[in-house]
């Protein structure tokens, strides 16, 4: 009987230390989330300026640019999946990966070949475990992506998009990332980034369509577009990475919050069980003593 009590004590102890870890992770995620959201916000002026400029060029000239033209010479498409580096974030990576799988299925159904580009260690190990080929991956900075990483990602993908069909060029780029709706809701989203659709929707739905003044282009509309469009892609990818990181932290915070609560529940259950084991032991001891005394008195 004493053994039983010891088992419960040990379980309570280990659950308590787990709870401490969960609580610490919750607090760390909570403290980083504000920073991550501030970084998302800090990129807004840049993104807005670029979107407006792209819209201005698109409305005032009918320049054809390789990044805005549909490619029919290849049936390869690139898919960029943004996941986290570490687990302990609830279903964050799993949801993004499920969305990506659905997208890949659909693309396969359309007879397309998919080149996988993965950000985040969880995504890399998911595809490696299944023996899928990954064209390129970026790991190590999913909770605090830098401009340099976003640039590297964007440049790799732009290069793939602009490459010849014979050199493994891709005809489209889809991005799967997790949109930060609010602290409790993060939604996986699929965005087709390339070829760019600036002509139909000059501001991508994020900005009111305004009447643009008649701009002079210096040195020429083509060259301005050349400078603008790759930057536009970079800024979009950077904002996807940042938003995903905010989502990751929010998912981690709520997952760790639930884990802390579950640990507390377990501790409560184990404490009850330990108490009832102790009481059972006492009751047994009393009945042993009483029956012993009875036996002595009877003799």
């Amino acid at each position: 009987m004493a053994g039983n009590q010891r088992v419960f004590k040990a379980r309570i102890k280990s659950t308590q230390s787990l709870k401490k870890i969960f609580r610490a992770m919750e607090l760390i995620a909570a403290s980083r989330i504000g920073k991550a959201r501030a970084r998302v916000k800090a990129t807004v002026p840049y993104a807005e300026a670029i979107t407006q400029a792209v819209g201005a060029v698109a409305t005032h000239s009918d320049v054809e640019h390789p990044l805005t033209t549909e490619r029919n010479d290849t049936n390869r498409v690139a898919v960029l999946v943004v996941t986290s580096d570490r687990g302990m974030a609830g279903a964050y990576s799993a949801t993004a990966l499920r969305e990506a799988e659905a997208l890949i299925q659909r693309l396969h159904g359309e007879g397309k070949e998919v080149d996988l580009y993965v950000a985040g260690r969880r995504g890399v190990s998911f595809y490696q475990f299944r023996g899928r080929e990954i064209a390129k991956s970026w790991t190590g900075a999913s909770d605090a992506p830098t401009v340099e990483i976003a640039e590297d990602v964007a440049d790799t993908l732009l290069e793939a998009f602009l490459a010849d069909a014979s050199n493994g060029g891709v005809g489209a780029l889809h991005v799967v990332y997790t949109q930060f709706v609010n602290m409790v809701t993060q939604r996986p989203r699929v965005v087709r980034l390339l070829p760019l659709e600036v002509v139909d929707a000059p501001a991508d739905g994020e900005h009111e369509v305004e009447a643009y003044p008649l701009y002079d282009f210096e040195p020429s509309a083509e060259e301005v577009l050349d400078a603008l469009l790759p930057r536009y892609v970079r800024s979009r990818i950077f904002s996807f990475l940042l938003e995903s990181s905010a989502s990751e932290l929010a998912a981690r915070q709520s997952a760790m919050h639930t884990a802390t609560e579950n640990a507390q529940d377990l501790i409560r259950t184990y404490t009850r069980q330990a108490n009832s084991a102790r009481q059972a032991e006492i009751t047994q001891e009393i009945s042993e003593i009483v029956s012993g005394a009875d036996a002595l008195a009877g003799s």
Binding site: F217, E218, V224, R234
Partner: protein, 91 residues
Amino acid sequence: MAHMSVDVVAADRKVWSGDATLVSAPAADGEIGILAGHSPMLSALTSGSVRVTDPRGNKRVFVVSGGFLSVDQDVVTIVVDNATDADTPGH
């Protein structure tokens, strides 16, 4: 004296914003200067330094590495990949 409002933004933050009387920037074809009342313009920038003169005559210099500049009704937006404020080194 007429002013323009100037925003200098980098990919991850707004670097500077304020009023100015003169902005000079490294355009693709050579240095350009912009005064208030300039016609709307979009220009590609190469790397170099952007100089902004504010209404009190103070000059600010930003070292930039490629980007573009837009002028629209006395609102100048300078969008660059990377900008360092030359006045406050280490930032």
